[in-house]
Amino acid sequence: MDYFRSGLKSVLGPPPGNQPTGAETVERLVSRVSTSTLLEDRRDACRALRALSKKFRLEVGAQGMDVLRQVLELDRSDCEIVGYCLDTLCNITAKQTFEEEIDNAVNNVQLNVGEDFTETFVGEQFTEMFLKNPENVNLVLSFMEEYDFRVRWPAVKLMTSLILSKPKVVQDIILVSPMGVSKLMDLLLENREVIRNDALLLLINLTKSNANIQKIVAFENAFDRLFDVINDEGGTDGGIVVEDCFLLLLNLLRNNTSNIHFFKEGSYIQKLAPMFTLPPNLEEIGWSPQKVSNFHCMLLLVRTLVSPNNPAQVVAACQKAMRNTNLLEALTDILMAAGVPANILTETINTVGEVIRGNLTNQEYFSNVQAPSNPPRPVIVVLLMSMVNEKQPLTLRCAVLYCFQCYLFKNEIGQQTVVHTLLPSNEAVASVTTGQLLCSGLFGNDALSNWFSAVALSHCLVDNPAQKEQLLRVLVATKAGAQPFGLLQQCAVFLQRTARLQSKLGVLMLLAQWMAHSQQAVKVFLGVSGAMAFLTAQASASEYDDNEELLQGLCAFLMGLCVAFNDNSEPNYSKENLSQLIEKRVGIETYCRKLSEVSHHEVYALAAKQPQPRAKHSGDLLLEYEFCQLFKSMEGVIYQALGRQRDLFSGISELSLSEHENALLVQYKELIREQDKQIQELAANMGACKMRCKELEAQLDDLQETNKQLVDQNTLLRAQLAANSSNIAIQDRHLDLSSPPNDSENSDLLEKIRKLESDNATKAADLDRIRKDQDDLLELLTDQDVKLNSFKDRLKELGENVDDGESDNNSVESENS
C-alpha cells in the first residue's frame, strides 16, 4: 500500500491539502494518459492506473476503459505501456473479486449506500463493454504475435479473462477472426513456459462446447503439440501442465466425432498407449496425487474415444486400434497390479469395459486374461468376486457390473461360456466359476449382491434364445441334501419370499429378460405355485410407498410377458385365461397405469440414459439399462397381445349381451364420448394456458433484461457521479485558492450534477416500478402455474397422457477431476 502511495505521489506531486480520494486520483491519471504529449508521462500514468486497478476497479474501469483502448492502438509500439494497459484491462474485466477491492468497498460505504452490488458482476460488465467492439478482441489477438514478454503474457491473460466472463461472445469473435485460432495455437510452441502454460488454460476455456473451434484447433496440429508438451513435461509423471494438456485433449474429443476420427487416423492412440504402462518400481515409489489426476484424465480420454454414445463405426475403429497398440493389454495389467489407488482401479475397470464393449476380439482377449493369484484365475472371476463382496466400495462394484455387461454385450460366445459353467456336468470343477459366483450372489443375504447378480445373469440372456433354454436346465441345491430345484423356479420362489425391494426388482428384471420371447421359460414360471397370484396381487395393489410402484409395474410387465409368450400348454394359465385375469382382477386401466408408471419413473429415465449403472447410494440401484430397452420394446407387444385377447373375448360376448347389458354398454359409450369431449376441451385449455405462460415468461425475461440494464446504467452513473463530485471538489479547491471564480464553468458542472442526480432519481424510480411489475408478473406466473398443474392433474385423472415437460437435469455425471 505504502509502495503504491509513494509511487502515486511521485506521479501526481504532493496532494493539495487533503488526501485525494481514489476517484480523484483515477480521474487525474486518466486525463494525464489522454492529454500528455510525453510518452514517458503516459507510461507512468498507465503504470499507476494498473496499481489502482484492483482497489479502485470500478473507477478505473468506468473512466479509463476508452483511454486504455486508445493507448493500445496509438502507443502499440511501446511494449512497456501496452503491457500496463493489458494488465489493467485484465484486472478490471476479471471474473473474481480482489481482496483490495473488498477492503475498498468496506471503507467506501457512501458510494454504495443500501446497495449490495457484487463485484464479480462489475467484471462481467466491463468485459461486456470491452467486447461491444469485436475489433478489441482482434487487437488483443494481435498482441499475441508480439514476442516481447511484457506484451504477450498479459495479452494471453487478458484473453483468458475475457473468455471466462463471456465465453460464447469471445468464441464467436475468434472463430471469424482471420487466423484467430492459429495465433493462439502458435502459443503452444512458446519456449517461455509461463506463457505456454497460460496459453493452455486459455485454449481449455476457449474450446469448451464449441465444435467448430475444437475442429480448427485439432486441424492446427493440437494433438502433436500437446503430446510434445506432455512428453517434455515427463509424461504421466509430469505436473499440472500434463493434466492441463489432457484436459484440453478431452475438450477437443468429447462428442466431436470428426476429431475422434482424426485422432484415431493420426495414430495418436499409439502415442497414448505406452503411457498406460506402469513402471515396475511404481509400487515402491507410490502414486503422487498429481499422477493420480493425470492417470484419471487419461482414462477419461480413452473412454471419450470409445464412449457408447459415439457412432458405432468410430467406436469399433478405436477399439481395434487400442487392441493393436496394446493399450487394452496395459489396462488389464493395471487391473492386476498392486498398489493402484482405488479410484484409478475403478475407472480402469470402467475403461476396460468400454474398450471391449461389443467387440468380439477384445472381449475374447479379456476373457483370457488370467490374474496372477494362486491358483491363477480368470480376471473376470476375480472381478466378480469383488462385485458380490459387501465390503467393496459401491463404485467399484458398479464398475465391475458395467465391465461384465460390456463383456457380454453382443457376445454370444461369452454368454454361452458363463451359462455353461452352471450346467450339470460330469467334470469336477476345481475352482470357482463365474456362474457359481452369480448364483450364490443371487440368493445371498446382501440385497445389493442379489441385484448385481441378477442383472449380470440377465445379460447372459439378452437376445440369446439358446441360452434362455440352456439356463432352464440349471439346477440349484437350496439346502444340502434337499431336492435340487430349477434356477427359474428358485427365482420365482425367492421373489415371493424376500422382503427387500432391490432384490425383488433384480430378480424381476432377470425373469423378464428370461421370459421375453421364450415360451418355455414362461411355461416353467407358470408352473411355480403362487407365482401368478403374487404378480396379480402386486399389480392390483392400489397403494404404494417409496419406489414400490416400480415393483408393481414390473409385476404387471411380467404378467404381460406371460400373455404374450404363452403356448397355452398350461390350461389354467392360457393366453385367454390370463388376459381375463388381468381384466377382471387388475382392471385394464389399472394395468396400463402400472406399466406407464414404470416408464415415467425418474429411476427409469436415469437408468435408460446410458449403459453404465451409476449410483451415489446403493439404494439408488433399482432399474438397469438393458432392462429399460426390453421394457420399451415389449410394452407395445404386451398391449397388442392383451388387445387381441380382449377383441376375441368381447367379440364373443357382445353377441350374447342381454338387453340390460346392452343398455349399459350404450351408456358407457356415451360416457366415453362425453369424456373424450372434455379431454379435448381441457387440452385446448391447457394449450392456451401454456401459450399464456410462455408470453408471461417472455415478458418477464424482457423486464429482467431491462432491469439489468438499468442497474448497469445506475452503477456507471454512480461511478461517473463520484468522479464528477471529486472533480468539483478539486475545482472548488482551485477556486478557493486562485484567480477569479469561473462562475459559468462552475454552474455548468453544478447543472451537470443536478441533471445526473435527477437522472439517477428517475432511473431509481423506474427501477422500483419495474421491480414491482416484475413481482406482479411473478405472482401472475405462479397463479398460471398452479392452474396449469390443476389442469394437468385433471387431464391425468381423465387418463390423458400428460407430458409434464420435466427436463431431466438429473445427470449425475462425475466426469472430469
Partner: protein, 213 residues
C-alpha cells in the same frame, strides 16, 4: 502404418455440390445418396502411393459451414491441397468460384495446390456448365481441372491423387518447406531401417525378442 509424407487437404465449395460425397467415395468407396447433414463425415484419411512412396492424405470437409466463410478460412493456412468443387448442374455454384478462389488465395500459403472439380458428371442431361468453361476457368487461374462423379466414382481417385502428385512434385523441386508443418505437410515418422517383416531376414524367435507387429 508408416508413411513417407502426410498431406493435409481441405474440400471447399458451395453447399450441395457433393463435397461430403466425394470424400466418402474416396475414403470408403461408397456413395451416400441421401443428403444427411447430421452424418457429416467432416474428416477422412487414406493412404495412397506415389512414385512407390506411401503418402497419407488427411482430408477435412467443411461440412455445414459453407455459409460461414470466415470459419472455413481458418483451414486454409494449414492445408497443402484444396479441392474446389462446383456442381455442373447448377451454374450459380460455378459463378461463385471466384469468391472461393479469392478467399483461398488470400488466406492460404502461396504454394497450396488447388484442384478445380466439376462434380456430378453423371448427370449429363442436367448439365448447365460446359466442360470447356471449367477448363477455361482453370487455365485462367492456374488450377488443375477435372470433372468427377461422386456417384459413379469416375475420376474421384484421380482428383485426389493428382493433387497429391502436384504437391509431391513441388516438394521434389524444393518449393515447399517441408519442415514447416503449417504448410500442411509432414514427413513420416522415421522409417526404421531394421524392418522386421522382411522374409528370411533374421532367425525367427531370435534373441532380439521384439514381439512387436
Amino acid at each position: 502404418m508408416s508413411y513417407a509424407y502426410l498431406f493435409k487437404y481441405i474440400i471447399i465449395g458451395d453447399t450441395g455440390v457433393g463435397k461430403s460425397c466425394l470424400l466418402l467415395q474416396f475414403t470408403d468407396k461408397r456413395f451416400q445418396p441421401v443428403h444427411d447433414l447430421t452424418i457429416g463425415v467432416e474428416f477422412g484419411a487414406r493412404m495412397i502411393t506415389i512414385d512407390s512412396k506411401q503418402i497419407k492424405l488427411q482430408i477435412w470437409d467443411t461440412a455445414g459451414q459453407e455459409a460461414f466463410r470466415s470459419i472455413t478460412r481458418s483451414y486454409y493456412r494449414g492445408a497443402a491441397g484444396a479441392l474446389l468443387v462446383y456442381d455442373i448442374t447448377r451454374r450459380e455454384t460455378f459463378n461463385h468460384l471466384t469468391t472461393w478462389l479469392d478467399d483461398a488465395r488470400q488466406h492460404s500459403n502461396s504454394n497450396m495446390v488447388i484442384m478445380l472439380i466439376g462434380n456430378k458428371s453423371d448427370l449429363e442431361s442436367r448439365r448447365e456448365v460446359k466442360k470447356e468453361e471449367g477448363e477455361a476457368f482453370a487455365r485462367e487461374h492456374g488450377l488443375v481441372f477435372m470433372e468427377t462423379s461422386a456417384k459413379t466414382a469416375a475420376n474421384v481417385e484421380e482428383a485426389f491423387i493428382n493433387t497429391a502428385k502436384e504437391i509431391y512434385e513441388k516438394i521434389q523441386e524444393g518449393v515447399f518447406d517441408i519442415n514447416n508443418e503449417a504448410n500442411g505437410i509432414k514427413i513420416g515418422p522415421q522409417h526404421s531401417p531394421t524392418n522386421p517383416s522382411l522374409p528370411g531376414a533374421g532367425g525367427a524367435g531370435g534373441s532380439q525378442g521384439s514381439g512387436c507387429c
